[in-house]
């Protein structure tokens, strides 16, 4: 594996996640449909947000770094609601 050629999937496989059953991110796709910037798509370091054909946003919470970038760059008031995963779950960095 040499740098620069690593797939995003391989990149994320280096991180330990203890996935909980409850989604700690909520997205209101209705609001997203009227969003022209969709800044979350590029800004999320874990690449969790994917635009859909109908203008909405598809997301997953399982590989979330819990950084908070998504809701801070979101310009559609309240489109992304974000809290912490349940105790003991979520990302578990070893070399942070």
């Amino acid at each position: 594996m040499s740098y620069g050629e690593i797939s995003f999937e391989d990149r994320m496989s280096t991180v330990d996640f203890r996935v909980g059953g409850r989604a700690h991110i909520e997205v209101d796709s209705e609001v997203c449909r009227s969003c022209t910037t969709k800044a979350c798509v590029h800004a999320c370091p874990a690449n969790l947000f994917v635009p859909t054909a109908d203008g909405g946003i598809l997301f997953n919470y399982e590989q979330c770094f819990e950084c908070g970038t998504c809701y801070l760059v979101c310009n559609g008031a309240g489109a992304i609601r974000w809290s912490y995963p349940d105790g003991g779950h979520g990302v578990a960095f070893r070399r942070g």
Binding site: M1, S2, Y3, G4, I6, F8, D10, R11, M12, T14, V15, R18, T37, A39, H42, A43, P45, A46, N47, F65, E66, C67, G68, T69, L72, V73, N75, S83, Y84, P85, D86, G87, G88, G90, V91, A92, F93, R94, R95, G96
Partner: protein, 431 residues
């Protein structure tokens, strides 16, 4: 359950606060949402331990260090240029030391151990979901996501990090994306021998490289640190710039790693872990309120990260603010007054120490460092001056420095007025 104090978040701020409270004889719960302290934490990679002299004397014998920083470089990059100011001293490689690289899962866990040894109760894998208050709005404890897990306390210290939901709930903090940056980091495996050769160090000596001009149109900077047998390389990106740029954070790291000055240093390093975290970089002018009735805020939750160009420090400010929060809380508990007035000693202690003094002195620097001129114009201007200085252009005679500076400033669209003004801000801040 009732404690004298509940500290939320077992990072450096929380563990320092819990340690001081426990030492003063108070019962204290140290609540951590991760499975272990440090699980949720990421930083560039260097901790400055001087404040630990006061908190944990002889810390350098026990702190889980990767390497001691004996060499500090500041780099200015353009597409094909690099100017490095490089300093090394062996003084930093022996007691009492200066800075060290360390992993947060090890560093934070060790700090929490010190609080536990002093008598604090560590409660991991538990999210604090909100504040409990009495009719008058005074904080009386916290709610958690554990069944019957609410905790009652005379005082709550919020060390719950950059997104501090507790400081926001208490109305102390309006988190503004304008003053938040995203740090993304790769930890790359590299044999010790390769690190020693590439970075010119031996034993446990290590290198800290701070980089300006490597983040394209996004205001920010880069870093490269040596661990024992790995490197930490990454970038810090201003959120508004990142949101507008339509480029992914890991692509900015990839660009840095491809730069001719950086590529030979990181070549062949295999990715061990990819990580990311927000950084509160607004500085003194954008600090939240730090004290409420029954509530103190410390560390990143208090936005106490120093992002002042040549100085990038956070863990020491977390340790310092946590330590003073713990002392102020202990004094308030002993005096029987944990109202905002009874806790006012916290702000005074911070103002009388490096924690607020450094921030106050450097209050103009965060805006300057992230300005368009410092980000997009000065690196190129300075590199061109140096290139002009060292390009032998015979048969033409050597140009004078003043002419080079004038030419380069003009070529990069920099007005003399702005240069003088920025120089003055620099002088007032760093002078």
């Amino acid at each position: 359950m009732r404690f004298d104090a509940v500290v939320v978040g077992a990072g450096p701020a929380g563990s320092a606060a819990a340690l001081e409270l426990a030492r003063a004889g108070h019962s204290v719960a140290l609540v951590e949402r991760g499975p272990y302290p440090g699980a949720k934490n990421v930083y560039g990679g260097v901790v400055y331990g001087r404040i630990l002299d006061e908190l944990l004397p002889g810390w350098w014998e026990r702190l889980p260090v990767q390497r001691w920083i004996t060499r500090r470089s500041t780099m200015l990059l353009t597409g094909a240029q690099a100017l490095t100011v490089d300093f090394r001293t062996q003084d930093w490689g022996r007691p009492p030391y200066n800075g060290a690289t360390a992993f947060r899962a090890e560093l934070d866990a060790w700090l929490a151990d010190q609080a536990v040894d002093a008598g604090a109760v560590l409660v991991p894998s538990t999210v604090v979901t909100g504040l409990r208050r009495d009719g008058g709005g005074r904080v009386t404890g916290v709610t958690t996501d554990r069944p019957d897990g609410d905790l009652t306390a005379g005082i709550v210290i919020a060390c719950d990090g950059v997104n501090s939901f507790l400081a926001k709930e208490a109305g102390l903090y309006e988190q503004d994306p304008e003053h938040v940056t995203l740090g993304v980091k790769e930890t790359l495996a590299l044999p010790r021998a390769a690190i020693e050769e590439r970075f010119g160090v031996s034993g446990l000596d290590g290198v800290d490289i701070e980089i300006l001009g490597c983040t394209g149109d996004i205001p920010g900077g880069g870093f490269l640190y040596t661990n024992l047998d790995s490197l930490s390389v990454g970038v810090v990106l201003a959120l508004p710039g990142l949101a507008a740029a339509k480029i992914r954070p890991e692509e900015v790291i990839a660009g840095l790693k491809r730069h001719p000055a950086i590529a030979p240093l990181v070549r062949g390093g295999e990715l061990l872990e990819y990580s990311a975290h927000l950084i509160p970089e607004g500085g003194y002018r954008h600090l939240p309120r730090l004290v409420g009735d029954g509530l103190l805020v410390a560390g990143d939750a208090a936005a106490l990260c120093l992002a002042a160009g040549i100085w990038l420090e956070g863990v020491n400010f977390a340790l310092g603010s946590g330590m003073y929060a713990g002392r102020a809380a202990a004094a308030a508990l002993a005096a029987g007054d944990t109202s905002a007035r009874g806790l006012a000693g916290y702000r005074r202690m911070l103002a009388g120490s490096f924690v607020l003094a450094d921030h106050r002195k450097l209050r103009r620097v965060p805006d300057l460092v992230l300005s368009r001129r410092v980000q997009r114009q000065y690196p190129g201007m300075i590199c061109d001056v140096v290139q002009g200085l060292f390009t032998v252009d015979n048969p033409r005679p050597k140009p004078g420095l003043r002419r080079l500076l004038r030419q380069s400033a003009r070529a990069h669209g920099i007005r003399r007025r702005d240069l003088l003004r920025d120089g003055l801000v620099g002088l007032r801040s760093f002078g």
